[in-house]
Amino acid sequence: MHSFATIIGLAQKSLRNRASTALLTILSIAISLALLVGVERIRSEARGSFANTISGTDLIVGARGGDINLLLYSVFRIGNATNNVSWESYQDIASQNAVEWSIPISLGDSHRGFRVMGTNTDYFRYYSFGNKRKLEFAQGRPFAEVFDTVLGADVAAELGYALGDSIVIAHGAGSTSFLNHDDKPFTVTGILKKTGTPVDRTVHVSLEGIEAIHIDWQSGARVPGQSTSAERALQMDLQPAAITAFLLGLKSRIATFSLLREINEYPQEPLLAIIPGVTLQQLWELLGVVEIALLVVSICVVIAGLIGMLTSILTSLNERRREMAILRAVGARPWHLLLLLISESTLLAALGALLGMAVVVGATALSANMLEQRFGIFVAVRWPNAFEWLIAGIVVLAAAVVSLWPAWRAYRNALADGLTIRT
């Protein structure tokens, strides 16, 4: 029907005639949609990188406590363990038949705000993240000597360390700790490639290194009058008595649940085993509240944008009654007027949506670096995907639906006014 095309043409020209208000409406829709899609992007990327923090590990074992707490300190380096796991229990469980590999973890110290983790070289061999990616060295090699250290990518980048540099580890996790193990400095022998996980922010040393710097310490404080030099420490037996937690890789995943039960009922010591994927899911559900809040806020912003559009259409309606009467006089049917107003707002919203998508792509391109470095969220710079287009489509549809109201009023007015507009 060619009057349909006529009306769409009229809508275009009418909008162009009111370019400045139209532009403002387009902008407000663009910005609100960009916010919504941007939040959605960060949310899904955050969820993705969150789930990718650890992979390939079948069980994480620590002292009995909360599941999420164990996941937080062993994987995310957040919080502390309430208790240790004895070396004997670790050895016992790690040597079980079902176990393919194990990685011990010893936490508690820090270096200038970065957590220090004691482990062994199996860590570099077996630890994996993302899609079963192994750790890789940007420079150097794993630690070999007691006082060697391997830095995560962010540690090296932010503190400007290079291979061969010497660093001092502080006692405790605070960044302003005055209790330094300054008598036993470590030498940087390796720097890892960036992973986008907490590994990047970790200082890795051997279990023996952790043991060595604590020779003169007992229950978190230096033993007065006792001072063992680094050289002497190397002569001593540096086998730790306890570790904080350990990761297990199993030969077959079928064994996961039986081993889990066995560890949780371990008679010698109260232990807790968790399946990382399951606990990650629990943690994400906890964070889900924040996620939903963010989403609700950005949906509200979109609604505000649509209300802004509605306001501008409604206020223009009165001054356009004349226009409607002219259109009626030349033979426009009432539904033509309905169509005119609906297509105007749909056109505005569609332009706003396109601009909004451009803003999202532009903004991610500009902030991708910052997001990755500051928050560890890797946001890919890419064109909008199908889901994001769907969101944009829903916003455009919502604009069309919302404009039914002013369109209906214009329709009623046109019928009631006849050809005389009484103002």
Binding site: H2, S3, T6, L10, K13, S14, R16, N17, R18, R322, E323, A325, I326, L327, R328, A329, V330, G331, A332, R333, P334, H336, A416, G418, L419, T420
Partner: protein, 249 residues
């Protein structure tokens, strides 16, 4: 005026508009229009005078099929408007009637030519009749505009940059494109200077003559009456006007 009763059958058949016992009241108001009879012959140019508020625009809305009579009938080209569907009335309007209002006849976001050809976008009949005159509807618009004294230079201006007199002439061109049977003009000269009024009406009437369109021209300015074939005072044919106080000479 009881001439209607004497009209012969042949004269009736030639009528473009026949009004019989027409009554119209706006919602929740007393009737403003009570007209027992009024006829407009094909090509006839009728001047309808009445003070403001007497129901002139309302009558035009009824004849134009925008308003629906409360009672009685309006027959256009032998077709009773009351029997048409809303869609048919809208089609009738665009096919057979041209409108010129007092002011603001043009859509500000369309060019002069687009305003004139707008009618043809809603009516295939008008478009076809325009094409009998010229090669394209745009050419026909230009031809009419030219006849009405709109120069090519003025045609290129934005409609908001035209004087009121020029805007009214563009509106007349739009009403006349595709040669409608009936031109309805609702005080189109009220916003014009006195000197311009006569000139505008002369141009309008000669174009109507050329298109053989009947004219129903409404104004409160009775001095314009002699320019038309017939003058009618609304108060004389409208029985509802008895309650109104006519304030013209």
């Amino acid at each position: 005026m009881s001439d209607a009763a004497l009209k012969s059958a042949s004269e009736r058949a030639a009528a473009v508009v026949q009004i019989r016992n027409l009554v119209y009241a706006w919602p929740n108001q007393d009737p403003v229009i009570v007209i027992p009879e009024l006829n407009l012959a094909r090509g006839e140019k009728v001047f309808l005078a009445g003070p403001s508020g007497s129901g002139k625009s309302t009558l035009l809305g009824l004849v134009g099929g925008v308003l629906m009579a409360s009672a009685g009938e309006i027959i256009i080209n032998e077709q009773p408007l009351g029997e048409m569907s809303a869609a048919a009335r809208d089609r009738y309007r665009s096919d057979h009637v041209g409108f010129v209002f007092q002011l603001f006849n043009l859509l500000p976001y369309l060019s002069v030519i687009e305003n004139v050809t707008l009618t043809c976008r809603f009516s295939t009949r008008r478009a076809e009749r325009a094409l009998q005159q010229s090669n394209s509807i745009e050419q026909e618009a230009e031809r009419l505009l030219h006849h009405l004294g709109i120069t090519a230079e003025l045609m290129r201006r934005r409609v908001t940059e035209l004087s009121i007199g020029q805007q009214q002439r563009v509106a007349a061109a739009r009403a006349l494109i595709g040669a409608p049977e009936l031109l309805i003009a609702d005080e189109p000269t009220s916003a014009l200077d006195h000197d311009l009024r006569k000139r505008f009406i002369d141009l309008l009437l000669s174009e109507c003559e050329a298109a053989n369109s009947a004219v129903l021209f409404v104004s409160h300015d009775v001095s314009l009456g002699p320019l038309f074939d017939r003058q009618i005072a609304l108060a004389e044919i409208n029985e509802a006007a008895a309650s109104l106080e006519p304030n013209y000479a």
